[in-house]
Structure formats: structure tokens, C-alpha cells
């Protein structure tokens, strides 16, 4: 253990990246980390997983999402596992390669952390005009030799859809054993008129922490449908940077989260409209129980000249316990006048009238609460455009709620 966790990680990696020699993890004094305290990371002495280390994962863990007919790609501790991945017989037009991490991201803390810790990059490419029917499921698995193991790793996945291509990608995060400090990054580029379904499931166990980043560019006429299901029991922060770079692009960015224990679930979105007549829709729902904490920071920036922008954002949260907390910071920054932009944010408790209605019909209180909580969150899940994925995510959410509320 050292007094500077960040420097300790960098030393293990043998590269200080773009960090100052004395720089530490951001504190709550930094505006972007105002609501997310990284102190809990100090509970463990993290070991950075290196390429030469070997793991003991022999099959995809039971905890992982099961998607029928999916092409399963497995990354253990940030590295592609060729034995567990279905790399043979990939459909025509889809290519998948693992190589050294290349690209440097932005200047944010998470960008630099991901750059510094990432060792391997998985590149997924869909050729122009090709439609990949089977969902591509990327499993991020944390494995430690024993229950006390504390593994730090960072995986980078780059997804490129050429003009007119179509694909569905699910990326899920589970802990097989030990504790993980993971810094996954996702670089996504949607070519002209391409269509991508991009669905994330964060399901890591208590003791784990994730600071993830997704950087998504949507070109002219392209359509993105995305969803983040955050039901892990540790710290899970997901930063999404979405840039509407081409005319008439459409993006849906939705999510549902459920916190129990001392989970901290942070969704930080930044949508930039840089082109005319593009549409972005954000729809987030969250429920916090026990001592858990929910954070939603969502920003919509409309640049000068991005006329005809339609940007909507909604975040609703429920608090189920007296110790739970939710902090929301929806933000609009607008420099064009012909726009329709709105955001809404609410925080409240379960509706007493609805609860009374159910109880009057003989449903025990705990079950009634679970039912209402579930229906509240499922409203967000319904935004997933691909029915097969929607079903899987709905079931995963129901399973998680059942384990906790009933």
C-alpha cells in the first residue's frame, strides 16, 4: 500500500502516461468528481494485470448475461482470451483483432487513466453495407486467484461501422473471483447511415470499482440505440461522450440503475451536437436502496450552427431508504437558436397511492414495493430498440431486484 494509489498503479505499469509525477486520484473538489468519491479504492492494494500473467477462467461465468445466438468474445482482466472466444467463423464483413493499444483519448482524468493502463485493444470492424445479424457479446471478466485478490485492469474496445453497416454489440462486465478495479474504454464510430445497437451491462460484485469511458461519434444519417444497465454492487462510473457529428444523426442513450449496500452508481453523459438537424434522446431511471448512492451528470452541448437540434434528456430516481442519496446535475449549454432542448429530473419515493392499491389487493408490502420498483425501472429498459436484447436486460434487472427486494 502506498499513499498515492494512482502513482502506484502507474509504477506497476512502468509508464506514467500523461500524469504528473505527483498527481493523485481526483477528489470531490474536482467538479467532474463532485459526487463520486474514489476513496473506497484505497481499501485494496491493487495489482495491475500484465500480459504475461495467466488466469484460471475456463468458461464464461454463470453470472454473465446469456444472449441467444450471440458471438461471444471474452476478455479476462483486459486481455482477449482466444480459447473462450468464438473467433472462428465470424460472419462476412465482420473482423475482430486484438493488438497493442494505439489511440490516445481526450484530456480528462478517465481518458488519461485508460491510456496509461490499457495494454491491449480489441478492434471490431464492420464493412460498408454489411448487416451483422447475430449480436456480438463482449464479456469483460475480472478474475483473481482468490477472494482477496485485487486486480486492476483496463480493456479497450474500438468499434467501427462503415457506411451503411449494421450491428448489435453487447458489452457486459462481471467479476468471476476477487475484486476488480477496471477502466474499460470504448471507442465507437458510426459511419454514414450506419446503425448500431450498443448495450452495456455493469454487474460487478461488491468490492469492485469501475471507471469506464465510452466515446461515440455519430455521422450523417447514422442511428445509435444504446443502453446502460448498471446493477453492480460496487462503484460503477460510466462516462459517455456522444458526438452528433453529422446531419440527421439520431442517438438514443438510455439506462437503468439499481443500487444496494454501499454501491455508488455514476452515469456521466456529455452529448455534443455539432451538426444540423440531429436528434439525441436520453432516458435514465435509477433506484437507490440501503446506503447506496446514485449520480447522474448529463450535459447537452449545442454548438454554434447546429440548427434544428432536438436534444431531450430525462432522469428520474427513487430513494427507497433513509440512507440512500441521489445527486443529479443535468446541464444544457446552447449556442444555436433554432433548437428544441429540454431536460427533466425528478427525485422521489414510491407512490404511496400505488402501494396502497396493491396492498389493498392482498399483495404483501415487500412484494408490492418490488413490483413498483421494477415497473419504474423497466420503463427505461423498454427504450431498448432490439427486442431480443430488451428481454435479456429486463430479465437481468428482474433477477437483480428479486435477489434484493423480495
Amino acid at each position: 500500500m502506498t499513499d498515492n494509489l494512482l502513482q502506484d498503479l502507474l509504477r506497476q505499469r512502468g509508464d506514467s502516461g500523461r500524469f504528473d509525477p505527483k498527481e493523485a486520484l481526483p477528489t470531490r473538489k474536482a467538479e467532474a468528481w463532485k459526487y463520486t468519491d474514489l476513496k473506497r479504492l484505497e481499501k485494496f492494494g491493487w495489482s495491475v494485470w500484465l500480459a504475461e500473467d495467466s488466469h484460471g477462467v475456463t468458461a464464461i461465468p454463470d453470472a454473465a448475461l446469456k444472449i441467444e445466438g450471440a458471438i461471444n468474445i471474452v476478455l479476462v482482466n483486459g486481455f482477449l482470451d482466444r480459447d473462450l472466444s468464438a473467433l472462428d467463423h465470424l460472419p462476412m464483413g465482420l473482423s475482430l483483432e486484438a493488438g497493442p493499444a494505439s489511440e490516445a483519448y481526450g484530456d480528462g482524468f478517465t481518458d488519461r487513466l485508460s491510456d496509461a493502463l490499457t495494454q491491449e485493444e480489441l478492434t471490431l470492424h464492420v464493412d460498408a453495407g454489411k448487416v451483422i445479424e447475430a449480436p456480438i457479446h463482449i464479456h469483460h471478466i475480472t478474475w483473481g486467484a482468490d477472494a482477496d485478490a485485487a486486480i486492476a485492469h483496463a480493456a479497450r474496445v474500438t468499434i467501427t461501422l462503415d457506411k451503411g453497416a449494421e450491428a448489435t454489440v453487447v458489452e457486459s462486465h462481471v467479476t468471476a473471483s476477487g475484486n476488480g478495479f477496471t477502466v474499460p474504454s470504448l471507442g465507437v464510430s458510426l459511419g454514414e447511415n450506419s446503425r448500431l445497437g450498443l448495450y452495456s451491462a455493469l454487474m460487478e460484485k461488491a468490492g469492485s470499482s469501475q471507471i469506464g469511458l465510452a466515446d461515440i461519434g455519430v455521422s450523417k444519417g447514422a442511428v445509435l440505440d444504446s443502453f446502460i444497465l448498471s446493477i453492480g454492487k460496487g462503484l460503477a462510473r460510466r462516462e459517455v461522450r456522444l458526438t452528433m457529428a453529422g446531419e440527421r444523426g439520431e442517438a438514443a442513450l438510455s439506462g437503468a440503475y439499481f443500487g444496494t449496500g454501499d454501491a455508488l452508481i455514476d452515469t456521466t453523459t456529455f452529448v455534443t451536437h455539432g451538426a444540423e438537424n440531429a436528434t439525441s434522446r436520453q432516458f435514465f431511471r435509477g433506484v437507490l436502496d440501503d446506503r447506496s448512492r446514485g449520480v447522474f451528470q448529463g450535459k447537452v452541448l449545442v454548438r454554434e450552427g447546429a440548427q434544428g437540434t432536438d436534444g431531450q434528456q430525462q432522469h428520474k430516481a427513487l430513494l427507497l431508504s433513509a440512507q440512500a442519496e441521489v445527486d443529479a446535475k443535468p446541464e444544457l449549454e446552447i449556442y444555436a437558436d433554432d433548437v428544441q432542448c429540454a431536460h427533466g429530473a425528478t427525485v422521489g419515493a414510491l407512490d404511496e397511492d400505488q402501494l396502497f392499491y396493491l396492498r389493498a389487493r392482498g399483495i404483501p408490502e415487500a412484494q408490492a414495493r418490488a413490483l413498483l420498483t421494477q415497473s419504474f425501472l423497466i420503463e427505461a429498459v423498454e427504450h431498448i430498440a432490439r427486442p431480443a436484447i430488451r428481454d435479456v436486460f429486463r430479465d437481468a434487472l428482474a433477477h437483480r431486484l428479486e435477489g434484493d427486494l423480495v
Binding site: E31, Y35, E304, G305, Q307, A317, L319, L320, S321, A322, Q323, A324, E325, V326, D327, A328, K329, P330, E331, L332, E333, I334, Y335, A336, D337, D338, V339, Q340, C341, A342, H343, G344, A345, T346, V347, G348, A349
Partner: protein, 488 residues
Amino acid sequence: MATTDTVERVSALEAEKYRYGFSTDIEMDFAPKGLNEDIVRLISAKKEEPEWLLEWRLKAFALWQDMPEPGWQKPDVPQIDYQDVYYYAAPKKDGPKSLDEVDPKLLETYAKLGIPLKEQEVLAGVEGAPRVAVDAVFDSVSVATTYRKELESHGIVFCSISEAVKTHPDLVKKYLGSVVPYSDNKHACLNAAVFTDGSFVYIPKGVKCPMELSTYFRINAQETGQFERTLIIADEGSYVSYLEGCTAPMRDENQLHAAVVELITLDDAEIKYSTVQNWYPGDVNGKGGIFNFVTKRGACRGRNSKISWTQVETGSAITWKYPSCILQGDNSVGEFYSVAITNNCQQADTGTKMIHIGKNTRSRIISKGISAGRADQTYRGLVRVLPNASGARNFTQCDSLLIGDKCGAHTIPYIESRNPTAQLEHEATTSRISEDQLFYCLSRGIGEEEAVALIVNGFCKEVMQTLPMEFAVEAQKLIGISLEGSVG
């Protein structure tokens, strides 16, 4: 009575000046430009302040020197040279000799607002005018004194803060800095060190103030200072409505305004604080103009108490303020109604904070922002519900209207809840004036500028309705005028 004395003395001075026909002002007290501990001591000494207040000022000054300039705001604030400012009774600058020397644009505005000539002179700072100003504005001095007498009959204290330090030291000592401590922020800290003017209001138990109080009526205050400090205390079961500012654009030599306003309501008391701010915004290119950096905060200390802020902000080059409510008493209510209009190169970063501490506390925020020209404006707000604030309720609505493609409008709300029974709602929209509405007006023969004013007034209606009647009428006109040149 002190007031009458002052009036007489002042009138005498006026007469004398007239007799000799020259216009050099003789200021008895003034201190050189710049800020140091001696200036702070001088201010305190001139005001014949007690030791504790001097110490308080000195502590503030010491802290201020080490405080960094805030950097989180959206507006681009130029470096302020604090040493280039007069902190005590600046010697008079030569004002315009008559209305002929006043910027014709300003006069045009006065005409549109229907301000009488005599009053225009006062507002434009024409030499010789100010001393008789109060009479001109309010018919006669006797009006002000009559009001004062009536207030006194109810036991209401309404005087300058310096006077209150002498006449009501216990109240001032108890409440000054209790809502906005001197360490609050850089500008409030500066104010604590050097404040020279401002109002003090105390409404005794169970008294409903029979009239709207306004700085206007306080005849000692025809020149609002740069570092005003206002303290209003509403004791149990009392009510007061306080008006600040003026709809007519005020000519002012001071660029930096760092005022502090503290409101305190005890059990069952209510304060309604309305502001119309129309300081000089600078020219169309943003040259000149006032920096309006104000810290306004109210504490609902008592049960069932209420504080309501209403502001119409149309002036100043930079407006930077967040009138806030600390809802400590159970069932207390905080309200914030705001219209902010920025045109040309104006910048505004304004909003509110509602801190829910007591049970069943309620807050309501309605903010309407209109941005035109190359202006930039931000709503920044915080709604925080602490763990004990069971049953807390908040509703927030922030709407922004953009006129033209070179301006910006931003919304930055912070919503923090730590109580499961609290209910918070926030909604914000940004759009431009609807083509349909504009077309509708134009096709009925209403000119474009008039149509814009009409639509904007409709957009702001919810806030305007909360203004006291006579203020509201003028504020409506003001909206139209502020937006001139923003279309076509």
C-alpha cells in the same frame, strides 16, 4: 429628527451652490483610491463603529487578501484592479451639466419608460439634480418623512445600516453576517471589509408592514453605494415586502458592485424581496458596463416562515448572483422567481440555492432567461435536501429563450436528495421564439419588435405576476426596451 436635519442641510447647500453659480462639489470626507487595512479602519472610524464591527471588518479583509478569485463561473470576468477603486466617499466626478450632455440613447429610453424630465436628470446624474431628487421623484420630502413616521408608529425600523449600528447595535450584532458570513466568497468578503451603505429593516413581532419598503424612500440613500449591505429581519409573525432597484437605467461611475443582502425570518414571518436591476450594461460592443456581483441569501429560521425572491435582471455587463434560501424551520417556504434578459454583449450567471433542512420545507423556482445578440446567460441552481428534511418538496422550472444565432443559453442545476420522502422535480427547456407566434402577431399588423416584446412578456408572465403592481407595469415596458435591436 436626523432625517429632517439632513434634508435641511442638503437643501441649504443646494441653495448656496446656486447663488454662487459654480458647481464644484465640496466633499468633506474622502479617502484615496486603493484598499488596505488603513482604509478599512478609516471607514469604520468615519462610521463611528463599535470595536466588534471593526474587528469583523479586519478579519474579513485579512481573509479576503488570501482568497483566490472564483473561477467556476461561466461569464468571462476581466481581472479586477481592486486598488483602482474608491472605497470611501469618492470625490465627485464631473457629471453632465444638463440633459443635453446625456447620451441620447439613454434619454430615448427614459422617454419610452415615461419618466418625467426632472426625474431623468436625477437618473442620468446631471449635476445639481441629485440633492433635490427625492422630492422630484416622490413629490416632496414630506412623503418620505410621512412614511417614516407611519413606520415608526408600528415599531418598524427602516434606516441605513450605518445608522442601525448606532441605534440598534444588538440586532445588528446578532444578525449581521449570520446568513452570509464574511468568509462566504471573495466578493462577500470584500463587502464585509468595506461596506459603507445599505438598508436595515426590522419588523417587530406580529407586524404586517403597511407599505412596500423601498430604498427610494430612504432619503439618505439616493446614491446607492458600490458595496451595499442590506439586513432585513422579520420577527415572529411579521410580514414585509421590500423593493430594490429601479426600472430606469442608472448612470453609475462605479464598475464593480459587490453587495450583500441578508434576510432572516423567524416563526410565521414572511419576507418578499423584489429586485429590478437595470444598471448600465455597456454599449453594443460590451464596452463599459457594471459588474454586478451580489451575494443574496435568506434564512427561514422559524417554523412556517417564508422568503420569496423575485428578480428582473436586465442591466449590467455581468450579472453574477444567486439569491438563496436556507430552509431551517419546519414547514418553511422558499421561492425564487427570476427573469434575466441579456442582449448585445451582456453576460449573466444567475440562479438560486434552496437548502432544505427542516421538515416539510417547500421550495419553488421559476427562472426565465432570454438571450439575444451576442449575449450569454446561465441558470445555475442548487436544490439540496438534507437527511432530516422529511416531506421536503421542490419544483423547478427553467426556460430559456434564444433570439438570434450568436447568443447562448445554459442551464446548470444541481439536484441533491438525501431523504427518501422528499420529492424534487426539475424541468428545463431551451428554444427560440416560435415562428407561428411571431407570424400571428405580424399578420395582425404588430411590428416585429413589438411582437417580440409581447411574446417575451408572455414567456415571463409567471414571474412578472409576482412583482408588486407598479413595479410590474414598468418592468414589462423594460423587457421590450431591453430587447430592442435584437431582431430584424
